[in-house]
Amino acid sequence: MLVLRPVELTDLPQLQQLARDSLVGVTSLPDDTECLREKILDSCASFEKNVEGHGPENYFFVLEDLTRERLVGCSEILATAGFSEPFYSLRNRHFTSASRELNIEHGVPALSLCHDLSGHTLLRGFHIDAALVRTRFSELLSRARLLFIAAHSQRFSEAVITEIVGFSSDEGHSPFWDAVGKHFFDLPYVEAERLCGLESRTFLAELMPQYPIYVPMLPQAAQDCIGRIHPDGQEAFDILEREGFETNSYIDLFDGGPTLYARTPGIRSIAQSQTGTAKPGASIDARGSYLVSNDSLKDYRAIVADLDYQAGQPVGLSAEMCAALNVTEGSPIRLIAL
């Protein structure tokens, strides 16, 4: 049985192993003990905190294999991007060149540094054990966050975004970085992502290009990276796209990866999830696969389960499921078809 739950300080050693294995572009997962310890403490405080509106909270979840007592994945929700430090992205918009006298008018795409995505809730830090990629547990790890947002909507913004890791080669070269960032940062891509993860982010503001970058002036290899997804980021993208997230005109400053955006109430797992009560007892006719959560805050749990669910009826859950979700008869639960 795999269960998603908030991270705890005792998870630190295993979490660091996960961080070590994660993709370079997942900057919210630095392979650094002190950094991770702080992230865990910060998350614990966020789950404990009484909040009226969304602020700097960061909710850090882990996916645990209860049988093997091992962590096999993690994911995060930052309540407000840009709250405690600036959230930068590149806006890809057309600069219009027009001359009536010459009868010329055309748009030239230009990348401009912006804070436009500040204020939105940010999904980040998605990382799953290689053995579980493209299983239903990836869905659990990603979408349980959406069920959490559904249960605690006052803690989050009206819109949710996420940045998908952009393309880089197996050797760690990002053509986009080499053509853009490297000129300003004088660092290799991997090192820049590492520094970013360590959250010493003032260097971003100090070094970033303040004037537009015109796309046709970039080498073709770099242009091709605009909005291009790293092969290992494709699954994270696909899951959220099915949830109704859409790409927009914003890309990642470092690797050119796309940004996904959705209005919170319109996200499928939020709009269509059902609430009910738990009823211990094995399902006789478990025909459907569901993501199930307990709607709690600091005791939040979510699992994947095959159930016999009838709308409006209590939800029959096996003893193992009840234990994993930490629920008893009559406890509120939330579920959505997988």
Partner: protein, 344 residues
Amino acid sequence: MIVRPVHVTDLPALLNLVHQAGPGFTTLPANEERLAHRVRWAQRTFAEQVERADADYLFVLEDDDQQLVGVSALVGAVGLREPWYNYRVGLTVSSSPDLGIRRQIPTLFLNNEMTGQSEICSLFLRPDQRQGSNGRLLSLGRLLFVAEFPHLFGDKLIAELRGSADEQGCSPFWDSLGRHFFKMDFSHADHLSGLGSKSFIAELMPRQPLYTCLLTEQAQAVIGKAHPNTEPALKILTAEGFAHKGYIDIFDAGPVIEAPVSNIRTVRDSQPLVLAIGTPDEEAPVWLIHNRRLENCRITAAQARQVGNSLIVDRLTAKRLQLQPGNSVRAVPLLNQQPQAVAA
């Protein structure tokens, strides 16, 4: 040889001359109608019938057989009728003390700094006449004209030198920058520019500064570099005090060189003298001499000897200037005779 204002009767000869200059000579296109318009306009300019904003002094170099062998121009003011754009090559520093990173990125800033300044341009000398004092006479004659009539010009003279281009006329700077905003090749843009559409074209360019590190290496390499063909002109003007202060052409990145009028050697060292006819000795230096007239301006280069406030020239020189002994001239030695000051 004399330099004098162009006249409408010069048109056939001028057209012939411009044809020899070829397509690279964009500021004087070999288009009869446009050339005729420019010549008529120049005549009105010399007759003081136009405002400084529209003034276009077009000079020709003529030999003693009344053959046109060269042309050069002086524009009263740039940018007063339509915007005049240049890039200034500035610097952006991106620095993070914590990380020990410090990058200096040359950055192009679009500007209209040269507005109101006067421009020297459109110089062409027939290849078989590129000898002796001819090149200097054709180029520096304009400066002596400015010395005589400073009220007709701006505080500075500027010259846009043609930028680097390959044998096909392709500019690496244009290919890396302008092309993306105009969707046309350099020769076409340059042609439009010569037809007077330069500011329309400039209006298609982005207003925000441009990081040169995002240009191709070939484009970066030609920023502020003059075309090899312009080297003789550059050398002459540099000796006159013109310098490149970081302004470049927005199309081909050729340097804009500039000098405050009062600092130009020909202007500063020129003086009014009384013409006398005699025999300058054989060692006498060559002087640039102007008859101090506007509409009937004549400028020549000839050996001359200064005695007090008189300038002794031979009879032919006086004839070329259409002057009598006792008339006033403005004159300056053609070559800088003082050793160049060494900067401390």
